[in-house]
């Protein structure tokens, strides 16, 4: 399945891009996807191993399973206001 990664703020700067697309085996969790992204290198290895994530715009757990075409966002600690 294809997963679309979104990176913001510090995480975008670390990984050097705001968007990635990766193919992952069916049944992969959000945590598996983060590991796959970090293993890709090119700066992505500097991302934290257990970031806050959102799946399709909702806060999610790293244990949540992904589905094809899901949008997985890696969110640094938030600092609005």
């Amino acid at each position: 399945m294809r997963i679309r990664f979104l990176l913001f703020a510090l995480y975008r700067d670390l990984a050097g891009a705001e968007e990635f697309e990766l193919a992952l085996p069916d049944g992969a969790t959000a945590g598996d996807a983060v590991s796959a992204l970090r293993a890709r290198g090119g700066g992505s290895e500097r991302l934290p191993p257990r970031p806050v994530v959102a799946i399709n715009r909702h806060y999610a757990s790293l244990d949540d399973r992904l589905a094809d075409n899901d949008e997985l966002a890696l969110l640094p600690p938030v600092a609005g206001g």
């Binding site: 703020a9 600092a79 609005g80």
Partner: protein
């Protein structure tokens, strides 16, 4: 007026105040966040706000709806600006109007506290010496793992 907005445009606080203070609402509390000229004694030239825009819009709507429900009756409105902001620019404005004052303070306070906890927005501070850094933030409590 849309109750929760993420925008790149300047925030019209007067319009928010008017919209929250209609003839049925005798009390309005407006909270405004402004880009400061210093942080921890370091002089600041401006701030860049980044956001996961689509999700931030959803989360801000949720926060405002929660505050409105807790208030019982009245109006709650929130606008968060993103993009490049200068010193003195309004970054966030929240207006809560209701027949009596106590719930308006509580609602405005709730919205800003929840924004700080949950809204997927980040800010990069720019300093007079040309440096910049992403400010440390908070881990949203519903997803601590």
């Amino acid at each position: 007026m849309t109750p929760a907005v993420i925008t790149r445009d300047p925030i019209d606080t007067a319009a928010l105040l008017d919209a929250a203070g209609d003839a049925a609402n005798g009390a309005v509390t407006l909270f405004v966040g402004v880009v400061r000229d210093h942080n921890d004694d370091r002089p600041v030239t401006g701030m860049r706000y980044d956001a996961y825009e689509a999700m931030a819009s959803d989360v801000l709507h949720e926060i405002v709806a929660e505050a409105r429900t807790a208030m019982g009756e009245g109006t709650v409105l929130a606008v968060h600006r993103i993009g490049e902001l200068a010193i003195g620019d309004v970054s966030v404005a929240i207006a809560a109007g209701a027949p009596h004052r106590a719930p308006t303070f509580d609602a405005a306070r709730y919205v800003i506290e929840q924004i700080k906890l949950r809204l997927p927005v980040w800010k990069e501070e720019h300093y007079t010496d040309g440096a910049a850094r992403w400010l440390p933030g908070q881990v949203p409590p519903m997803v601590q793992s």
